[in-house]
Subunit: 231 residues, 2 copies
Amino acid sequence: MDIGIIGSSTVAQTLATKLLELGHSVMISSRDTSLAKDRGDRGTLPSAADFAAGQRELGRRAAAGSFAQAAAHGEIVVNATAGGHSLEALEAAGAENLAGKILVDVANALDFSRGMPPTLLYCNTDSLAERIQAAFPAARVVKALNTATATVMVDPSQFGEATTMFVAGNDQAARDWVRSELLEGWFGWRQVLDLGDLTAARGLEMWLPLWLRLMGATGTAAFNLRIVTAG
Amino acid sequence: MDIGIIGSSTVAQTLATKLLELGHSVMISSRDTSLAKDRGDRGTLPSAADFAAGQRELGRRAAAGSFAQAAAHGEIVVNATAGGHSLEALEAAGAENLAGKILVDVANALDFSRGMPPTLLYCNTDSLAERIQAAFPAARVVKALNTATATVMVDPSQFGEATTMFVAGNDQAARDWVRSELLEGWFGWRQVLDLGDLTAARGLEMWLPLWLRLMGATGTAAFNLRIVTAG
């Protein structure tokens, strides 16, 4: 399948790598594809162009382009930008390139302007996913994968037991596709809960403040939650 | 031990029943101890006085009193009121009756005034637990148990596998006591994560919107999360 990824972050490159391994044609994107990202004490992330060139050397169908090119490339589109910049990046991607397509929103809108720990830009009565859906009414927005770190998103088998992933969105067929194809089929998730319409994205995004404290308590970002019911 | 419970809700009566079974002396409390609570289509909850009388008939050390009497009774105090009324109820309990004591805050401040689903009264940069700590600086507030329904709080063994509970608070000794005695020792929790200071209560309280959607998706309130790490 042709997949467009809005963004060239760690999350974008991790998702792209997995999708490329599965044989899909993937374009990642950024404002300037030649620009590597400084990730502070975690070093430097390859530029979108360097990432795509490296993947092509492995025989994979990778490309790097503008936000609009990636959105146009994709039969489905993934928003993997930093949440505080998502609306702006999607505006550059173009409503016409998103119309009718499933738009998987994996972003979290963290606000670092008030210091650490970050807070949320949208909360309680609103969410990033709902803002995106309102700004792009013809896109079929599905919130998913934002509740885990990138290496967990694409490799849920690392835990040795099934852990839980979620989908939420206003379009049932879009939710079903993300659950059964992208999450269960391609990435191997074994417990995906359908939380209903996109207002559920509020709860999924409000998981982040707890997630950050759990990273502190467990000493790793490679964790996930498993929902357990009695009986 | 002598335990004071602020409130006479389902949560208060469920916690009290478990603590009484364990042999403790427990006083639950309400504005009017003779008043039964209408729980809509779930029927009527016994009044605080009737609950205590029923427990005494079983030979247990139960009492019902005012918020102030319950707080004075307790060597430790539990806030089991509806979160929107907690500050008012604790004001009635009296700062002098809370000073120096561990105050376990199990409440969630849900706002039903905007219709269903409820939203949170405090969120993102604030939490009910922090409000309580600020209003009662001599109390040793520990947030715990608010992430699960009452029957799960006191019976984590119902899942057949360890699920996760949390503590947060500014007083390390108080957090340690709640973790090792109340949660692990008395209630049988086997995976309790210490999330550090009381700002972690934000994440614990922001779990509620997701919890409510999970109740819808799983069809039960008798569920919990388990935190799973790799390797």
